[in-house]
Amino acid sequence: MTGFGGDVLETAGDTMSEVRAEREARAHVRDQARTSRRLARALRDRAVAAREENLVHRWRLWSAGLLPSPPDIIPLDWSHPLGLEGAVARAEQACRDCAAACDAAFSARRRGLPREVIQAFARNAATATVAQRRLEFDPADSLGALALCALVVERAEPVLAGPWRHAELVLAASASRRCGVACRAALTALYAELDAPH
């Protein structure tokens, strides 16, 4: 029959295929945005590194007497080194913050989140808690936990990159990243101490 019923079916089919095409187009745009954001982040890191290098060169020129006045800012990596105790304390705090932020994100936003996102945040929270406990108990015996925490956060990076619309998730991703950085710094400080001649 090609009457009214046929038209309705045709219209419904068209609508469905249009919706499908639109969904695909949306997913494509979202992927493109995500790629662009990653690229932008990488470019920003390169720009910061180049600026730092430039600043160091200008300080060198000034110390060699080739510049009349010193640059009015100093490079970021000239900040006072934390030392072992500072690095360990910072890592302990970062691990605690990471676990708390992931916990808050679960409590507020777990419904509707993709499974792999929840699992990644759960792994971050779990490794951060274990690392924090070991750091609190005895920093000298926390190498494995710190390394695992740094590794787990590093592997979760595609998930941490978002995009997130909710503050809890942004905070959890950011706390996880800071935790990874702090764990690496503490690990480096611990190994420097181990390798130092006593």
Binding site: F106, R134, F137, P139, A147
Partner: protein, 138 residues
């Protein structure tokens, strides 16, 4: 991966930093000089998995959960996806660990269950004693 993390997971040996230790007392697997790096890694992964288990329990989140492979191989950070109930059963037994197929070491463990690329192994001998010593009831 940064060299420090890599080195630590490969079991660079137990560090002994004088003056670093806290005075808060207690004991962890990492502090036991009789444990080799493999056993220490296994116990670390088990501790992390117990935390994942707690989170999953608390938030009633997943039918199937991704845990860390508890093989303790140098540099292994693979994931094992099993239902939470299966992991709970494994964790009830102090000498049992869950790991990916092919990651088992027949010198220190025997396979007690095999399913979809995942193994449940039971430690034997000294490894079983160490696992029991550091087992924490959920």
């Amino acid at each position: 991966m940064p060299c420090g993390a890599d080195r630590a997971l490969r079991g660079a040996g137990r560090p002994s930093l004088e003056g670093l230790g806290s005075e808060r007392g207690g004991s962890t697997a990492d502090q036991d000089a009789t444990l080799d790096s493999r056993t220490r890694n296994e116990l670390l992964f088990r501790e992390v998995n117990q935390r994942i288990q707690e989170i999953a329990d608390r938030f009633d989140m997943w039918a199937e959960t991704e845990f860390m492979c508890e093989c303790g191989r140098a540099g292994c950070a693979d994931l094992v996806a099993v239902p939470l109930a299966v992991y709970n059963e494994v964790r009830d037994h102090p000498a049992r660990f869950i790991l990916l197929a092919g990651h088992e070491d027949e010198e220190i463990e025997r396979v007690v269950e095999r399913r979809d690329g995942v193994l449940v192994v039971e430690k034997v001998g000294g490894a079983a004693e160490a696992a029991a010593r550091f087992h924490r009831q959920p």
